[in-house]
């Protein structure tokens, strides 16, 4: 099953390059088949436990090994479903938005890279996935044409720098231990100077790639410059890849002293991301930049949860971390598609474009508001589940009033930037042309993930059970 999930996108890309005319069709087909396969994998994992495949029959240690646990199969399913959704959106709007033909094979490659990343448990394979993701993401950003060249180049350079840092760390570890498989490495791990340096280098590279504060500077420009479907994919999925590796490193590899040293820094960075990202989102005059800054802020929650998890080793924080990742992916996809649709239809990049949108484009605006509700963490959305787990963990730990107040402040900031847009939408609309007819299908596609993130409440119990099995 895992091999199928990797081979399909690869074949899909190949065929798309061969027959570019039917590329959209192939992309949608690949994504839907992959979704089914991912669902199958999820059932398999939840029934029979973790699955492992050694490619090409080589013995363990030599072969490329793929390992699926419930978290990674969940992430694969999410990836495939979002690919399908974004593909549909792109198909519905590609004529109007003049989306380049390169989108289809590239997005398929993106799916390949992500799927491989969720399945890999080997530092070098992870590097390859990371590099693939980075390059595909840059290419996708540059689809916007000339105006995106500068942010895309910027993204490329920083991404390469991040990869190099990571690779350097991997090299140090290989020199010291001679293995790169994470489980084997963890068994032989010694918390000495070389391993600390390697960990720090890798962390630096990953934080840069995941746009974790204070290395987030490239993200708003790049995500805002990209076409709407691309921004949705980048914000929802791509930044989660390096975050996933970061969690692998610190939860499975690092020694206790190393963890203790770095945990408060992670939590602090997360908090700074939440507050500063929130303030930036509140101040920016551009609609897409607001959503992009919101990504920076929301990644802060994941970072904060990771820091707290490392510090207190409380399973509730692990649940909070992954719930944030899942909820944010869905909500942010909805936000970008909705804002993209509104700005494309009403024409304009500024937040003021949203003025009166509740009358002119009620569906898209509703999608934005619903997704925003999850970003704020209103019950019963997925964001609320995550925040609830975080708050429960903090109260149970006792004496964490500082963090609690910080979370309240961060929530208020997110409410402020979401409702800044919503209040504008309730302003009286400017008169529109008589033939003004916004398209319905793309708006529904934007609404779909927003509804899905609220529906997470209905599945919270099995979801929490799935996530609870995993330290990671």
């Amino acid at each position: 099953m895992m091999v199928v999930l990797l081979v399909l996108p690869l074949l899909g890309t190949l065929f798309m390059l061969l027959w570019p005319k039917i590329a959209p069709l192939l992309a949608l087909l690949t994504a839907s088949v992959c979704s089914l396969a991912a669902l199958q994998l999820l059932f398999l994992v939840s029934e029979q436990g973790n699955q492992q495949v050694l490619l090409a029959g080589w013995p363990s240690g030599l072969a490329i090994s793929l390992e699926a646990n419930s978290l990674s199969s969940l992430l694969i399913l999410l990836t495939a479903l979002l690919q399908l959704l974004v593909g549909l959106y792109a198909f519905a709007t590609h004529r109007r938005d003049k989306l380049g033909a390169g989108f289809w094979p590239l997005s398929c490659m993106l799916q390949l890279g992500l799927t491989a990343l969720w399945l890999s448990r080997d530092l070098f394979n992870l590097y390859v996935c990371l590099e693939l993701l980075g390059i595909v993401a840059v290419a996708l950003v540059s689809l916007s044409g000339d105006k995106a060249i500068k942010p895309a180049l910027n993204y490329l350079l920083l991404s390469l720098f991040g990869s190099l840092c990571y690779l350097l760390g991997v090299a140090i570890l290989y020199g010291a231990y001679g293995v790169l498989d994470i489980t084997v490495l963890a068994a032989r791990w010694q918390a000495d100077l070389p391993s600390s340096i390697a960990l720090l280098l890798m962390t630096l590279g990953l934080m840069l790639k995941a746009a974790l504060w204070p290395l987030h500077g490239w993200l708003p420009a790049a995500h805002a410059a990209a076409p709407a479907p691309v921004s949705a994919l980048l914000s929802a999925l791509v930044v989660k890849g390096p975050l996933f590796i970061l969690c692998l490193l610190w939860l499975q590899l690092a020694g206790a002293t190393q963890v203790a040293a770095v945990a408060p820094w992670f939590a602090g960075c997360g908090l700074a991301a939440l507050l500063l990202g929130g303030v930036s989102a509140l101040r920016t005059p551009f609609a897409k930049n607001m959503v992009a800054y919101s990504t920076v802020a929301q990644l802060g929650y994941a970072m904060l949860a990771l820091g707290l998890l490392l510090r207190f080793n409380q399973p509730l924080f692990a649940a909070a971390l992954w719930l944030f990742v899942l909820a944010h992916a869905l909500a942010k996809a909805a936000c970008f598609l909705a804002i993209g649709e509104i700005t494309a239809t009403l024409g304009g990049k500024r937040i003021n474009t949203l003025k009166g949108a509740s009358q002119t484009m009620p569906l898209a605006m509703f999608a934005f508001a619903v997704a925003g509700g999850s970003l704020i963490g209103l019950p019963p959305s997925g964001g609320f589940l995550a925040k609830w787990a975080l708050l429960q963990g903090l109260w149970l730990q006792g004496g964490q009033l500082f963090w609690l107040l910080a979370i309240v402040l961060a929530t208020l900031l997110s409410a402020a930037y979401v409702f800044r847009a919503v209040v504008l939408a309730f302003d009286r609309a400017d008169p529109v042309a008589p033939d003004f007819a916004p398209r319905i299908l793309p708006q529904w596609l934007a609404l779909l993930p927003a509804l899905a993130v609220w529906a997470m409440a209905l599945y919270s119990e099995p979801l929490l059970q799935l996530l609870k099995q995993e330290g990671l």
Binding site: P379, V422, F426
Partner: protein, 502 residues
Amino acid sequence: MSPFWQQYLPLSIILSSLLPGLIIFTLKETQVKLRISLNLFGVGVKLLLVLLMWQAVKAGQQFYFSLPFLPGADLVLQGDALSLLFVVLSSVLWLATTIYAIGYLEQSPLRSRFFGYFSLCVSATVGLALAGNLVTFLLFYELLTLATFPLVVHRGTPESLAAGRRYLAYTLSGGVILMLGVALLHSLVQSPLFTPGGYVAAAVSGNEGLLMLAFALMIMVLGVKAALLPLHGWLPQAMVAPAPVSALLHAVAVVKAGAFGIIRLVYDVFGVESMQALQLAQPLMLLAAATILYGSWRALAQQDIKRRLAYSTISQVSYITLGVAMLGPLAAVGGLVHLVHQGVMKITLFFCAGNFAETLGIHKIRELNGVGRRMPVTAMAFTLGALGMIGIPPTAGFISKWYLGLGAAEVGQNWLILVFALSGLLNAAYFLPVVYRMWFLPQSGRWPAEQRLSNRFETHWMLLLPAIFTAILLLLMGLFASTELSPLSWSQLIVEREFRHD
């Protein structure tokens, strides 16, 4: 009634307004008839279901519906005597408000959106009333905020947008803090069902500080919606909303949700004993008493009719809080029955204020001179509401104040009777001049903006009928307070069940 029905009854009461609301969103502006019928159909079904539930709860049945949600806290809908009090109040007043809103908004734009959110708002209120534990309560509390916001900003003018922002700033910050408080309490004692007598008693020793913190956090938030003293600022400003929305805010949904939450928190979460053990009642009582006097005092100075009514609400809702905080059975009866009485009286006053504004363009109190001759029925309804607010027999307001006064004597807080007397005087001082102007002063000049809305009546019948209905209701509730259909006897039933557990 089959068990199947019993299980789904609370849910269907919520759905009876939610589903029509969602359909209404999709309707075009021109589909007026379909929209109105959907609306009225929803109201009818809801009232019928509520009636069914009322009969069953009276006979001692409990309704229970749950969905798995968080670990240790399911989504629970529960129909008990207290929730029924609020459900009946909001459904009956929703009927009146819906009719009023249809008449009020005739010919205005964006009605599908308005009525959609209107239905959502009532669904959230009823959900809040039926919520069986704190987490469910939190959920509907937030939904109520979200559903009300579009109504407050409905006109889309700069003032209404500013009011909407203010409303959101207050209630959303409140929501976050409520989440914090609920999470704290959940980490201490989980979130079991609301039970008469509370469920924190077992955890009191050793956790005094945290429990007090949780109580303070939650009261602070509920105080935002119930407009308790320093947190009342949004309410007078929200007056820019259309009259049916004000009616909804003040009498049916938002303010009442806060007061109802305080009742739940005091009686069914903390319980009388824990409240006494933690000494939480005294500060709440002081706060409520201060709000009563402050609201009345500020109301005196207002020249705008709706603003004066808003400050009056701030004062009157705190009677409920005060009755609850006294922790005695008689005072509790007074507080609970005032939840209903204040709702009916205040909605009457807002209907009348809306009628004056719509028909004659009157917004200021000085413009009311002689309006009793031009619109006698509306002026009569207003007078009844005002007399009720002051607490003159035989109106409903008298009953609640009587019980509150008895309750204060019962728990030995005689100074509160002084507060009631003083506030009653202030009420008279800001309502009687209005009544005097309406009936006894001659009309001064032309009406600001007169419209002929009906040939037969003084104004559109859909505006008139709800006001008459609620005015008669408040008179009946006072006259027949001792019969078993009255809110008074229902409150006595609740208090009996609440205080019987020990």
